[in-house]
Symmetry: C2
Subunit: 332 residues, 2 copies
């Protein structure tokens, strides 16, 4: 560790060590060659890793506290999509220089979210270099209860948590693609910078939902991952896709592209049998996260049929959408 | 994932998926929100993460096959230092562009090492950006058998695997700090670019060694981590520190600095009781890795005494060494 990086001890290692000795029985945290971690008895570790790069996933002038939040949030969102309970994470990052105020704000945002979900920092690496943040997150889940992408069944409803499109709307405002009033701009910006991972909803949906994933690249592309892995088709009512009051004040064509191909939503998209509708709604109420039914899974019609999304309007009429080339911030 | 990054599927995801379905029973690999992984019954997962940045940990023109090897090797070295058996790893990386020949060579180097140690790629992330490689590695170990840094005991011998200093000698040749003939240069370069993680030795030392770590920043700094965590002192015979025939052909003062403060060695430094000498030597023979005794652990002498290394020559006379400011490649 560079001597100038002793600041990092102060902002990360000490808080991590305190958290580890408190929360993870039998675990060994920062300060040895490896951390030691076990899932709960009978469970497995759900593991996901995401890398955030300046200029590609966030603007160079982003609020560091929000960046700390988002760096962990996008990883917790992957745990939510498996129905896994957060347990721990590692953080590796490269920084051009050790800026005390920046590190203090970044670590505040990171640990506030980590503490809310009981997720302890157990290891890491720091180095000089262009700003790059890499988190690997660990959750615990019974393998048979995990919400996998390959478990959608014909006849399933398709559900969405929260609303879609605000993050992409916020990116458009920052880029000058469109404008909004100060209040709507703040709503959009909050969605872009401080997504709330749907951890409690993912846990509540275990044993109820069939398939699930989190929306990071836009509904149109991400839902297709479920369809391809489950070898099924989907019909989606475009008008049913939930959107915020702020987004409804943008032109309809922008609303549609933001909700369907926006990216950076970090809401859950999941499928569940029709018979489970009341249970899905109860799960949403229990964790105070709205859930909305937007469509239906169906079987492939022939050996030549391919997994695909059929878009419909509220009247059930087919729509042809051109969503290609609508780039979003999280472009990879 | 950027469309140009579909190459990555070819070089990583397919080989990873094949490996996962073969080796990890009940695990879910690449293609879902998370991978699922469990340690063996009664064991814990040993977890370590390392980030490698261009210009800081490797030269921009490094052989990509060697870089693939080293990226995983430095992480496996952390598992070796815990006595953990490799199980799986995740790889997140940013790349300026998707260069097919580069990715083919990089992935060849990575997977050749992964297969040698039965370590499967189970997840990852790829993005555009300055070249940055982040691996998180998972091994399995019984918590009571883990080789921790805080377990050195007064009276323990201090041992080193292999030889030290060749990697730093190779860096010096590349930097023009000193020169060597073609054969020695090749030896040094191999040490710098293709360190072999001492995984089998770490496993063989379980139940024999007390404390262990892997040498990445140089013996003088790294041994101090064991001393500080174990609250003990060390006496090291500088002339006993093992070095290669190639290194012995450099001037004595350079030999000494390369072996004691060189960095990038990825050899194990461990302590074991005197009564275990025959067992340590047998463990080294069993895995065909030389082990050399270089010193002794002792208790602190008073409440004011601090963990420190006392350097001696072969005659037992104290030496005062100036190792500060001898920078190495792995500078953080």
């Amino acid at each position: 560790m560079l001597s100038e990086f002793s600041l990092i001890d102060r902002f990360f290692a000490r808080r991590a060590a305190a958290a580890s000795s408190r929360a993870i029985e039998g675990a060994l945290g920062i300060g040895d060659d490896c951390a030691l971690l076990a899932p709960r008895p009978g469970e497995m570790l759900a593991i996901s890793t995401d890398m955030l790069v300046e200029g590609r996933h966030f603007f160079p002038d982003v609020d560091p506290e929000a960046l700390g939040h988002k760096t962990l949030a996008v990883n917790l969102s992957d745990l939510a999509a498996m129905g896994a309970e957060p347990q721990a994470f590692t953080l590796a990052f490269s920084l051009p220089k050790a800026d005390e105020a920046w590190l203090a704000a970044f670590s505040d945002g990171l640990f506030a979210l980590a503490e809310r979900y009981g997720c302890d920092l157990i290891g890491g690496d720091t180095t000089g270099g262009p700003l790059n943040l890499c988190v690997t997150v660990f959750g615990s889940v019974k393998p048979q209860a995990a919400l996998r992408r390959d478990a959608a069944q014909p006849g399933d409803d398709i559900w969405i948590s929260g609303t879609l499109g605000d993050a992409r709307a916020g990116l458009g405002v920052q880029r000058g693609e469109w404008s909004a009033d100060a209040s709507d701009t703040a709503t959009f910006r909050r969605a872009l910078e401080r997504p709330e991972p749907r951890v409690f909803l993912g846990i509540a949906l275990r044993g109820i939902a069939h398939a699930a994933l989190d929306l990071s690249d836009g509904l149109a592309g991400d839902l297709l991952h479920i369809l391809e892995r489950s070898n099924v088709r989907a019909t989606v009512d475009v008008d049913a896709v939930p959107r915020s009051a702020a987004l409804r004040r943008l032109p309809p064509e922008i609303q549609q592209r933001c909700t369907l191909a926006g990216g950076d939503d970090y809401e859950l998209c999941f499928t569940a049998p029709v018979a489970a509708r009341a249970k899905v709604e109860a799960a949403g109420r229990e964790v105070a996260i709205p859930v909305t039914r937007i469509g239906t899974i169906s079987a492939l019609q022939s050996a030549a049929d391919r997994p695909a999304i059929g878009w419909r309007n509220a009247a059930g009429a087919p729509l042809t959408l051109t969503l290609q080339g609508f780039d979003h911030f999280h472009a990879d």
